[in-house]
Amino acid sequence: MKSLLFSTVEEAISHIENYPNEGYVLHVPISLIHKMSEKLTSDVVLCSTSGEYSANGYKNGSITGFSFDKAVAEIVEIVTPPIKSKQNLETAYQKVKNNKNAFMLLLLDGLSGLEESVISTLFFIDKSFKIIGGSAGDDLLFKETAIYIGKKRVKHVAIFFDMHKRTQLLKENIYVPYGDKLLITSADPIGRTVKTINGEPAATAYAKALSIPESQLADHFMNNPLGKIYEDEVLIASPMKINGDKSITFYCQMMPNTFVYLLKPVNPVDKLENTLDTLNFRPSFLYVINCILRSLKFQQDGTWEKFDATVLNTCPNTTGFISYGEQFYTHHVNQTMVMLAVE
């Protein structure tokens, strides 16, 4: 797998035409993606973004991605509702399920709120099978994201890779829980909206827990998201907006009658070093998906440079994109970094 970086659509298309025997996954700004798709074959998958990652680190407005041996990959379109694609997905899965280095890359629509729908449809996949994914972005316009298989625009796509080299999935969380648990007392999970927390309107309870006035709550979302409590880990749920009735809409589904923690950020570069330390091998290829909220925070704090240096020091052959959400095994999460390492 080879990391790619192009400045223009023409450059990208030219490269693809020069190497037609490869398969490609490319991350393209929303402004360029429709034009680019017109000239592609079904061996090329395009995904719109809110920023890109490359062998030169964080980018915005470039085309990044990687090329791969067509023989090891199977591209499967996922429609809406995703159950209609279940059979195809299962067929592709059956071919690779016994390969413990195999993995599935998901690229999902970032604005239709269907990520959990897709993941729950993968009920036939073994829990230990590697699934890494990102939700497509649209440069913070929040109008529409786009995914293409060649010329054909699709809702979501899954690519099964039957790898011969060792692979490893990593997830990084730069937030830690603090304070008391909060109980989500009522919510609309499909609508990703939390109505009440601890019996009070969500915004009121959230602001109270942060000890800030309700009017300042939205400014704290980036640094103080919520964490879903599991036995061994905490998964991040990012608030998107406060609604008129003081309910809060999130970037993922929230169940009522569950406990969440307030989260606060830790030093991201230290955390990154810890994350990379867990690699079982020296990677020859890294695929990095960072959440838009992490990207915005890094831009605000000036962290990208150090981040880039640390990642690229581990592996220069790196690519990826900035997403509206991340998928890691059977979870859809926010404000997280998910990473695929290939030996």
């Binding site: 429609v79 209609k84 059979q87 195809n88 499909i190 169940m255 009658n257």
Partner: protein, 346 residues
């Protein structure tokens, strides 16, 4: 979509010559994933001509009901989860209270140890006091003995004074006798003077002698009176000394009585201190029992805290399991949502 397909299936049914291949040809525009399911449904319709529909309505009804019951299940969950949340708060509160009791117990134990130390010190000081009292009593006894010696001395003084008084009396008697003799001598000299006068010239020498004898007896009389005077004064002095001696003797008696009373008081103090001593023993015993009880309570409390901590750990596990369980609910909700999307399409 399935309704349309079932209508078509019925039509082809009438012909009774339809094969699966023909059905596939008819429906090649359907999304790939649905084909197998569709075929299975159609198979039922095709093979069993009495079946007029393909359970579409039944499936819809059941799915709708699953949705309704699921919502009811979620609201039941809220009761359980809320209860769990309350229990958790209660347990956290209890644990804090227990920890506070533990702290109080520590203080109490510390205080009890201090009190025992104080009681031991009091006990030791009482021991010393007893020894001091013993010494005091011994000293007093010595004083009493010495007082008795003093009393003896005064008694002897008194006896000696009495003796002296009687000797002075004797001397006074002698002086009186002398006075008597002097008086007699004076009369005699008078007589002698008279005779001398009678004798005329021959009696002049006798009259001189008689005068001299008169002078002597006058002097003797005077001396005897002086002696008597001196003796009277000495007798007064002796009397006064005697009275003083009596007074002193009485004082010594009073002091002896007072000292004996003091001895009794010391005995009382000693008895009182002995009682306090015994009480202190009880206090010490009681404190030792207290410490042993405190030690038992502390052990019991530590057991409660350990149990409480392990219960907290269990509750934490329970809470962690809440999210895992909810994920399954979430998946079912997503399945129901997809079903709804399918119905909406058809």
């Amino acid at each position: 979509m399935l309704k349309t397909m079932s209508k078509k299936a019925n039509k082809t049914n009438e012909k009774k010559t339809t094969t699966e291949t023909q059905i596939m040809t008819n429906y090649e525009n359907l999304p790939k994933g649905a084909i197998v399911d569709t075929i299975n449904n159609l198979r039922k319709c095709v093979l069993d001509p009495d079946v007029m529909h393909c359970y579409f309505d039944e499936t819809t009804a059941l799915s709708k009901q699953i949705s309704i019951d699921f919502d009811a299940l979620l609201s039941q969950e809220s009761i359980i989860t809320f209860g769990l949340s309350q229990i958790l708060e209660g347990v956290e509160y209890t644990t804090k209270q227990i920890e506070e009791v533990g702290e109080h117990l520590n203080h109490f134990s510390h205080n009890t140890t201090q009190t025992k130390q104080y009681a031991d010190e009091v006990y030791n000081k009482l021991e010393k006091s007893s020894q001091e009292i013993d010494l005091a009593k011994t000293s007093i006894r010595e004083v009493v003995v010495q007082m008795q010696s003093v009393s003896e001395v005064f008694h002897q003084f008194f006896d000696n004074f009495q003796h002296l008084e009687s000797q002075y009396s004797d001397i006074a008697n002698f002086a009186s006798v002398i006075t008597g003799i002097a008086k007699q001598t004076n009369l005699l000299s008078l007589n002698a003077s008279i005779e001398a006068a009678r004798a005329g010239e021959s009696g002049k020498g006798f009259s001189v002698v008689a005068n001299e004898i008169k002078k002597l007896s006058d002097e003797t009389h005077k001396n005897a009176n002086d002696i008597i005077g001196a003796l009277d004064r000495m007798t007064d002095t002796i009397r006064i000394l005697g009275e003083k001696s009596t007074d002193s003797s009485n004082v010594v008696k009073d002091v002896t009585v007072a000292i004996k009373k003091t001895d009794v008081l010391f005995d009382n103090i000693f008895k009182a201190e002995e009682e306090v001593h015994n009480q202190m023993k009880y206090v010490q015993q009681s404190q030792e029992e207290n410490l042993s009880q405190v030690s038992d309570i502390t052990v019991a409390l530590k057991n409660v805290i350990n149990k409480s901590n392990s219960e907290n750990a269990e509750l934490d596990k329970l809470i962690a399991s809440v999210q895992t369980k909810s994920d399954y609910y979430l998946r079912i909700l997503n399945y129901l949502n997809q079903l709804k999307m399918l119905y909406d399409e058809s």
